[in-house]
Amino acid sequence: MASRDDIKFLSNPKIGNNKKKYCRFKKYGIRYIDYKDSEFLLQFINPQGKILPRRITGNSLKFQRKISVAVKRARHLALLPFVADQLK
């Protein structure tokens, strides 16, 4: 007989808290993405230094394109790595 403590693992804990993703640039009215601000761009790349897809970041297409351009510019200037192992 399963005890009460076991039962809580039977249901998916993520059910019921699916927050809707949003584009932070649209929401907060950010119009320009600075390629020199590597700290900010870190939010949009994974630990390997790859650009995160839109389905994860929730950016609108317009700003996802701008992000990708900014990240690529930052890479050229050695502000961000092309490849990394443990970036974050």
Binding site: R31, Y32, D34, Y35, K36, D37, S38, R73, R75, H76, L77, A78, L79, L80, P81, F82, A84
Partner: protein, 131 residues
Amino acid sequence: MVQYEVTFVVDPVLSGDEMKSTAQVYVDMLKNEGANIVHVDEMGLRQLAYPIRKKLSGVYYCIEFQMENGVFIDKFELALRRDERIMRFLTVRLDKFGVQFNQDKRDGKIGIAKKKREEEAAAKAAAAAEK
């Protein structure tokens, strides 16, 4: 008038004076061509994300300038390319949002300056509350 922004990385082996003169050479070059220098930003010595010419750090400079047209940019980039002291450079044409962003950044409306000011204000408020 079109606003441009050129960022370049200078070799860190040079001494401080040489470094400044390197940046000054390009500022003067732009001025001679009739460019209106908006701002020269010394971003300082930074760690590079990957080695360039076997060096792990570089000094970043960013010059913002206005020009009637982009004819001179080609020549300017050629000069940067030929200069051995310059490790990397990037010239970007700024759109109206970019111009606005850089202006706000200088005025301290966004980024680190704003955060600092907010923290100071919070600290002051906390101090006032204690009294």
